[in-house]
Symmetry: C2
Subunit: 118 residues, 2 copies
């Protein structure tokens, strides 16, 4: 790996370093929860630029960093794009059923509030 | 209800006003999560003074307020004691399985970390 490549590898917690409190915090923001719902709806990795979020670009970057540093998403560079994927297997191994129940709750809330919520 | 009684009734969100993001935020703090785990382990209501928490009294009060205002616990005065109970039914109706999966995840994490976590 060249120095330039190393600089472009983003820091992630190992699975054993993922903490429930950090995961719940990451999921407790409506913008971050909407990102996670979009990622959960596809098997593909999605570029940050895919998401049409009602916040500034720097806030978007902040939200993705919180998701990455908590262990909820894995971010990798592909060319100039930062790609995002849910760490489903790591989360399911550590906290069985948790992500699914949060996603179901988010869907229930969105349905109940008629699209007012994420 | 006398004025004095009214002042002692604490504000809670109705079930329809409980928001997933607020619930997840309330659960994302280790002290609050430990309170919820203790409450989940009993059918009884527990006084704030029951909990032996590694924080100051004012911080303890803050944590209980966050839990109450998010809809996770119901607080009522009994004499001079503030009693706390989990709003299990409201949460289960709104977000089926969510509380149980968080409690299971908290237990798994505590077991995995050998008592280092809540």
């Amino acid at each position: 790996m060249t120095e330039r490549d190393a600089a472009r590898v983003l820091a992630h917690p190992e699975a054993a370093g993922i903490r429930l409190e950090s995961v719940l915090h990451a999921l407790s923001d409506p913008v971050r929860l909407s990102i996670v719902r979009d990622l959960a709806a596809t098997d593909a990795e999605l570029a940050c630029s895919y998401f049409d979020l009602p916040v500034t670009k720097s806030t978007t970057t902040h939200h993705f960093r919180v998701l990455r540093e908590s262990g909820v998403v894995r971010q990798t560079y592909r060319g100039t794009a930062k790609m995002n994927g849910l760490r489903r297997e790591d989360l399911q191994t550590l906290f069985p059923g948790l992500l699914d129940s949060v996603l179901a709750a988010a869907a229930a809330e969105a349905s109940r509030l008629g699209g007012l919520a994420t």
